[in-house]
Symmetry: D2
Subunit: 157 residues, 4 copies
Amino acid sequence: MKSSPNSDGSPNSGSPSPPPRLPLVAEERVRYAETDQMGVAHHRHHFVWFEVGRTEFARRYGFPYLEIETRGLRLVVVEAACRYRRPLLYDDVVLIHAGLREVSARKIVFEYRLVKKADGELAATGHTVHVVTDARGRTSSLPEDILRLVKSAVTPA
Amino acid sequence: MKSSPNSDGSPNSGSPSPPPRLPLVAEERVRYAETDQMGVAHHRHHFVWFEVGRTEFARRYGFPYLEIETRGLRLVVVEAACRYRRPLLYDDVVLIHAGLREVSARKIVFEYRLVKKADGELAATGHTVHVVTDARGRTSSLPEDILRLVKSAVTPA
Amino acid sequence: MKSSPNSDGSPNSGSPSPPPRLPLVAEERVRYAETDQMGVAHHRHHFVWFEVGRTEFARRYGFPYLEIETRGLRLVVVEAACRYRRPLLYDDVVLIHAGLREVSARKIVFEYRLVKKADGELAATGHTVHVVTDARGRTSSLPEDILRLVKSAVTPA
Amino acid sequence: MKSSPNSDGSPNSGSPSPPPRLPLVAEERVRYAETDQMGVAHHRHHFVWFEVGRTEFARRYGFPYLEIETRGLRLVVVEAACRYRRPLLYDDVVLIHAGLREVSARKIVFEYRLVKKADGELAATGHTVHVVTDARGRTSSLPEDILRLVKSAVTPA
């Protein structure tokens, strides 16, 4: 992962090109419960912020995740990765940027950037890959109407 | 991990060779608190099992993490990734395998495999990358005695 | 707690008297990560919302918790209790009301009410008791200036 | 709750009588992820240990919670309380004692004691109250066979 800059699936990690323009979708404060004894947000919480990001992204683009579940579908996480650049501290405000990188009827790739609001510094980047299943976990695919909405929300590279 | 070779950046993924022989270091049951409304362990918890795995790995090989912290050092997570193969359910017993893939005085790479004890099926694989810092988060390096222990614990490929 | 309707400190539990006037201090959405396989927010998360509530309460009344820690003090939780009235579901917006019930230089009691924004229904009530310690966990007391601020923030019964 | 020693619902808090003899049902290590920046296990985790305790208690006494759920029932938490006596630190081994205090077809009360294995000191006590519901959250009651098992597991005072 270190020698090959693109190997984490993040299209531009290690690249000299400008950072991707991912929409700002949510703002969260680091809770005391999210810190660990190192005095920083524990690294598992970044995946929760990513999740908050895709919830808000989906709501904004017209396909709320709650509705997807109501229609009997699930977006199951099959891959998740994060690179940590700067620690996030208790009470820091975190800007959550999220974007859609790949969409098909069966698979969706989200990308994220977490930014410390106080100084605009990048705190973390990451991505998650999701497959579509039914409520019992069997492979399925997005219905045409949702797929159209999701496709229209793809973030330009 | 099998069809798409190196995309998780895990040094030996995609290889035709047999799966890595990572030592079994811990056994944990999925707690109710770790499930989500999809009825499976939420994907962030795998990173906690990885952490339990490296705690037990380090204890077994003679460099308990608690002692590293007592000596004023931290192993800060700078990268974490997981691939989810099979869902883990409430009350499942999870076998945590962990290994050391790369070691230098400043950086350590751990690798993990989570296996469902009941049927021996692989549930997840992943890795974490750590850098050595002092208690204030400034780059540091492992003292010679600890480095020797850590190096001797590297899991053969 | 069961025989005496008011014993959780919430003046109107089971009582015909009007609800206590606890200030609304924060608004949070239930995250997917906070649900469990019962399909509701897991009961431990209410204590995190309480914590968010006291963080925002303290900020609003001029004694941000971060500053208290910077001055070498901690407010250690010695007791926490919650009564759950209605389940909170994924994506529900939760209104967090918090108030100060008792204050001395060594001990503080917070009280909370969680309300489901969509229908105004009470979801949970609770309280936490905190003692003042120094950074090493030894009993301590609030300095005069902070104590004055905290006392002025006590919520009238 | 503060002035009256028994007000936390724990039958013997504040009492001069000997501590209740709750069976030891589980042993857990404090995970790094469970600490906060105060350097101790965050107070919400005690409720997870309580939950692990009742899972193991129920398994031991022949009514595994998984089976209760399979039969379409849920034990919903309607009240939870904890008193924190001593901090639990990273890597501490915690002995979880759990007992059943009250049982009826519709309601169950569990009680807990967390003990630090290294020195045998009491770290926390607490209780949870559960009501029986069906899978949709409607009030229900335990079937006769389960109720018999649960009743036979009541911990003598």
